[in-house]
């Protein structure tokens, strides 16, 4: 068993910061890597060491395996933590890290490869007795071929998916034969761009499903535990935005069955370290294997808060070869946790990415609030990377308290400079259907932005507007010169106004 003393974090943003924090608490040294635009990013400022790895585009920096491994070796790191995204589910990277004599904090390259192919993983799960959505495990090239498969699984509606997929890219719902050709083409083109692989496969569409996933953790001795579930049904463009633990609707008996199935799935692919088995759950609480994510999930904090564990620390311990310190019987949930992803996006304009410099930033705090952020008040949000700025997580002794706390915390959150998903999250959290647990993956499409409350023309707001206008003109307290450049305070001279009024009378 090799003790890990120094970890290179092959990532950026909030997840790099989050991993650094756990390492510091374990007294493990941290090595950050950064692209040219990230020299002053929080992960660079917080790590013990930091090395440049190339220009801004991730293909030339955060995806540059050789460079990252070279930095790890030169800095004397024992291990590499990939975070999520970038190289986290790249089997070649996992293999190269191991071949360089470093510990890859995650499962084996072979496990990553198997689970990375959506078609191969479906095959493995089917063989292991894990329920999967009816569909094909073959790559589809032509429309006719697709049509035949669709008939064999009982017809429309179906879902097209990218075999190398993730994050909703390449996914298309097809409800009628007429839609198939265009959907197939669009899906293949998007998949090619996103993953360099245009392989598409077909599944029966599970209507109005919930997306519920099970966190698992496995050590090198074959000891596997499941760590409750996360409900990630609140998605926009097939991407998760709000997640919670536990699910609002799962009876203990179904939870136990899903947990056992997830362990079965992990065992079927020889899983070691932290992973997540994603399921679709239909209205009758039947569940179907969707995919296995062979890494830490974005939404892992809700599990941590409810179970009282630190998944990154456990990942490091397992990677060292330590046996899991958790026994299934001893794992106890307490209360409820919710996560809102705070993206630099404009929710009122179709969630378009919003780039710019952060002018001001004030994070929510206080009881039951956790914030994992990847930006600081000086940060620039660029187009180069995922626009996730931070994750806001609240814990409550029950779901109602967690929701009330999240609403309180979202209202405390202040960001100037870019638009964010905060108003969107607030609208969802305040929605009666969300509060009652009546939602599935179609929730956002069905309700946003129609669910926004009407803004009433409040007279008090008019008074506030007039007061601000007055302050601007009278007090001239424009310390940062910001207003001055946008608007010259008007200084109407008496004669000019009189002149104008006379002109008006003449008209």
């Amino acid at each position: 068993m090799k003790r890990i003393r120094k970890v290179l974090i092959a990532n950026r943003g909030e997840i790099a910061v989050r991993i650094i924090r756990s390492c510091k608490e374990l007294d493990v040294s941290t090595v950050a890597v950064f692209s040219e635009v990230d020299r002053l990013s929080p992960h660079v400022l917080m790590a013990d060491e930091a090395y440049p790895i190339g220009p801004a585009p991730s293909s030339r920096s955060y995806l540059n395996m050789e460079k990252i491994i070279a930095v790890a070796l030169e800095s004397g790191a024992d291990a590499v933590h990939p975070g999520y995204g970038f190289l986290a589910e790249n089997p070649t990277f996992a293999r190269k890290v191991s071949e360089a004599g470093l510990i890859f904090i995650g499962p084996s390259a072979e496990t990553i490869r198997m689970m990375g192919s959506k078609t191969e993983s479906r095959k493995i799960m089917q063989e292991a007795g894990v329920p999967v959505v009816p569909g094909t495990t073959r790559a589809i090239k032509r429309v006719a071929e697709a049509q035949a498969i669709i008939e064999s699984i009982g017809g429309y509606p179906v879902m097209l998916k990218a075999a190398a997929g993730g994050g909703g890219k390449g996914m298309r719902i097809v409800r009628k034969a007429e839609e198939l050709p265009r959907a197939l083409e669009a899906g293949r083109s998007e998949a090619l761009k996103a993953f360099g692989d245009d392989t598409i496969y077909i599944e029966k569409l599970v209507e109005s499903p919930k997306h519920i996933e099970i966190q698992i953790l496995a050590d090198h001795e074959g000891h596997i535990v499941h760590l409750w579930e996360r409900d990630c049904s609140i998605q926009r463009r097939h991407q998760k935005v709000i997640e919670e633990c536990p699910s609002a609707i799962l009876p203990p008996e179904v939870r136990a069955r899903m947990g056992a199935t997830a362990v079965q799935a992990a065992r079927a692919c020889g899983y070691v370290n932290a992973g997540t088995v994603e399921f679709l759950v239909d209205e009758n609480l039947n569940f179907y294997f969707l995919e296995m994510n062979t890494r830490l999930q974005v939404e892992h904090p809700v599990t941590e808060m409810v179970l009282g564990i630190d998944l990154v620390k456990l990942q490091i311990q397992v990677a060292e070869g330590s046996p899991l310190p958790l026994r299934q019987e001893a794992i106890q949930a307490r209360g409820h946790a919710i996560e809102c992803r705070i993206y630099a996006e404009d929710p009122f304009h179709n969630f378009a990415p919003s780039t710019g410099r952060i002018q001001y930033l004030k994070h929510p705090e206080g009881p039951g609030v956790r914030l994992d952020s990847g930006i600081a008040s000086h940060s620039e949000i660029t187009m180069y990377y995922d626009p996730l700025m931070a994750k806001l997580i609240t814990w409550g002794s029950n779901r109602r308290e967690a929701i009330a706390r999240m609403i309180r915390a979202l209202k405390e959150y202040q960001v100037h400079g870019v638009r964010t998903t905060i108003p969107f999250c607030l609208a969802v959290l305040q929605h009666p259907d969300f509060q009652e647990g009546r939602f599935n993956t179609g929730f956002v499409d069905a309700c946003w932005p129609d669910c926004l409350p009407e803004v009433s023309g409040d007279e008090a707001v008019d008074a506030v507007a007039a007061a601000l206008r007055y302050l601007q003109e009278q007090q001239k307290v424009y310390q940062d010169g910001h207003f001055v450049s946008r608007e010259r305070p008007p200084q109407p001279s008496a004669w000019k106004i009189r002149g104008l009024k006379e002109m008006m009378r003449e008209r």
Binding site: K169, E190, K193, A194, R237, D346, H349, N350, A352, P353, S354, T355, Q359, Y360, M383, Y385, D386, P387, L410, K411, Q414, H416, I422, P423, L426, V455, G457, E459, A460, V461, D462, A463, V464, A465, A466, A467, L468, R469, Y470, L471, Q472, E473, Q474, Q475, V477, Q479, D480, H482, F483, R486, E487, P490, P492, K496, I497, L500, K501, M503, M504, R507
Partner: protein, 167 residues
């Protein structure tokens, strides 16, 4: 001091009287007592009859945009001179980019989904651009008619580049 707030096409007067830093503001029939203070750069604290509003100013007057409790309010607030100018000359100070559709971020134009002369309604997709590895729909900010299409498919654009002009 009188300001004019636009509601629809009309402008309503709002009277402001400064009594030693406390403002007495009349909106319609209602008289409010306000204590507005600047907290930091574009943040204000305004007490309105004791109600505490924390206000983040997103865009200054006359086309003001501000946030209270994450709710965004957009109001046009004119002073006497601006009101008279608008009445005479029409809306001289055009809302920036109102009919101008600009790139929200750098990226690549994939498809243009409308034609010059076409009538569009607010929210209708105008074109698709790729940025941050995603396909993003750019939608019409107003109801109107497509006057000019400035870009074409496969063209790279910078943030704030003009894409389409509506009228």
């Amino acid at each position: 001091m009188v300001y004019y707030i636009r509601k629809g096409e009309a402008f309503f007067p709002v009277e402001v009287e400064d009594r030693n830093g406390i403002l007495w503001i009349r909106v319609g029939e209602t008289l409010f007592q306000l204590d507005p203070r600047r907290v930091a750069n574009e943040q204000y604290s305004v007490l309105v009859n004791g109600k505490s509003f924390f206000v983040e100013l997103v865009h200054p007057a006359p086309e003001m945009v501000f946030k209270i409790d994450q709710q965004e309010y957009a109001l046009t607030v004119l002073n006497e001179r601006q009101k008279i100018e608008r009445e005479i000359f029409g809306r001289t100070e055009r809302v920036h980019g109102h009919g101008e559709v600009r790139a929200p971020m750098p990226g690549l134009i994939l498809r243009v989904e409308v034609q010059v002369g076409e009538e569009v309604t607010i929210g209708q997709p105008l074109l698709i651009m790729e940025a941050m590895k995603m396909e993003n729909e750019i939608r019409a900010p107003i109801d109107g008619v497509v006057k000019e299409i400035v870009v074409e498919p496969h063209q790279a654009v910078e943030k704030e580049d003009l894409l389409i002009r509506l009228e």
